[in-house]
């Protein structure tokens, strides 16, 4: 019980004191996860839209694989990328192992299926509403995809936020490809894992509280971007 009280006190002190180490860890977490989500949106949203709009053989199978990939275990992704980036691996020349870039790649792999699958389902829903009109206007395929992406933006924001939740929360992949190196690849979740293994449960929980608050703030900021008129109609 006293651990909980101590954790809150710790969290407040850590934030109030502007602890430099904490700031560095938070900034790296933001840099890694936001970069990964941005990349995942660039790849996943057009991919999801294409899957919803285009008709080609294997489309359903691809959608199924995408949906299943939302549950990719982070440690497996981390392990595969470790084996690829290792100096004994096929991508060793990139020199990415134990760098923030490797962590961004790992989280992009984890987040892209989430963004793509949620985008596909949102846009498939809009298709019923808009596609006949778009066809009647003789819009090209590219134009149809672009229009649907634009109209679906509240749902796409939700997809991006779901992806961000995944990126922010995962520890397994960044631990393996980043190595949790102090001042280099240590992020919030790996710092929490380290403090837990030191038995510093209150400090670990305090870091967890900071992470949750950060996540809340990002979500609030993202919701602030949402156009009000759409907020209600497509909030889910």
């Amino acid at each position: 019980m006293q651990d909980f009280t101590a954790a809150f006190a710790h969290a407040v002190t850590l934030v109030a004191s502007g602890d430099r180490e904490l700031l560095q860890i938070v900034l790296l977490s933001l840099r890694v996860s936001l970069s990964a989500v941005a990349l995942a949106c660039l790849i996943g949203m057009p991919l999801g839209a294409a899957l919803a709009v285009l008709r080609f053989p294997g489309r359903r199978a691809l959608a199924l694989v995408l949906n299943a990939s939302m549950g990719l275990p982070p440690v497996v992704v981390g392990l595969l990328l470790y084996m690829a980036f290792s100096r004994a691996g096929p991508l060793s020349a990139l020199g990415l192992l134990y760098t923030p870039t490797a962590m961004i790649v790992a989280q992009t792999v984890l987040v892209t299926p989430i963004v793509a699958a949620l985008s596909r389902s949102a846009i498939a829903g809009l298709m019923d509403e808009f596609d006949e009109t778009l066809r009647a206007l003789r819009a090209s395929r590219g134009q149809r995809i672009a229009t649907l992406l634009w109209e679906a933006r509240p749902a796409l924001l939700t997809a991006a936020l779901a992806g961000m939740g995944r990126a922010f929360a995962e520890v397994g992949a960044v631990m393996i490809v980043g190595g949790n190196i102090d001042h280099v690849t240590r992020v919030m979740t790996t710092a929490i894992a380290l403090e837990t293994s030191r038995g510093e449960l209150a400090l670990a929980l305090a870091l967890g509280l900071v992470l949750v608050c950060l996540s809340l703030a990002l979500n609030a900021a993202a919701l602030g971007l949402r156009p009000r008129a759409y907020g209600v109609a497509y909030a889910r």
Binding site: Q24, L27, L28, L30, R31, L34, S35, V37, A38, C41, L42, M45, S86, R87, A88, G89, S92, L97, Y98, T99, P100, R153, L156, L157, A160, G179, N180, I181, D182, H183, V184, L194, T196, S197, R198, G199, E200, L201, L225
Partner: protein, 270 residues
Amino acid sequence: MIRPLLALALLAAPAAVPAEAERLLIQSTTSTQNSGLYDEILPAFEAATGLDAQVVAVGTGQALKNAQNCDGDVLLTHARTAEEAFVAAGYGTERRDVMYNDFVLVGPAADPAGIAGADSAAAALAAIARARAPFASRGDDSGTHKAERALWRAASLEPADGSGRWYLETGSGMGATLNLAAARGAYALTDRATWLSFANRDGMAVLFEGDPALFNQYGLIPVSPDHCPGTNLAGAEALRDWLLSEEGRAAIASVTRDGTQLFFPNEAPN
């Protein structure tokens, strides 16, 4: 929506530019990191050599594997037999003793299996097995796990027979294993440094110590440039020489918890 995200990502980008100093990547066992040893001695090493020492702390088994894959310049681990095999296989140049401490058997302070008065570590483990008292094992091929298995062999016992009942293999680090032992009232074998720096002891105590079989030697191996052409051999040797120097040995000896020294530097060979 993508644009603000990108803008945020770019804003955060300059946050952690890696230092320009030459990097020395250390593949290490966890006890040296969890006990805070590196935090206390590496700044002095970096100041003395200008190297940027980066530590990846994993179990000894994984550290050896990572170094074999050339994903590290130097190894600091504690499993002599495996380390000598690593050098014999040509993955490392040579192995040096750098420091030591000892393993201790910890458990619930009430000591339900009565190991406190045992004659030897093997006898203590036999008492635990006889009582079927819960025992939390690393189960991860780490240096501590290898030491624990050697003790079971010395006791002519196969604890795996009790796996999942009283013998609990956590498959995770020393800290996680101690957290589990604290929660389940289980015994565990731990290196003394991790134990002394471990904050969540929660009713646990050191119950058996002092058997020479519990000696815990840490060794350093530079990764061989013949096996890994890109390795930072000069940096690895600088770390070895510094750890064995007057300054390095004094730094190791100065790290204490609750007034107890965590690691004891080995004598420098002539």
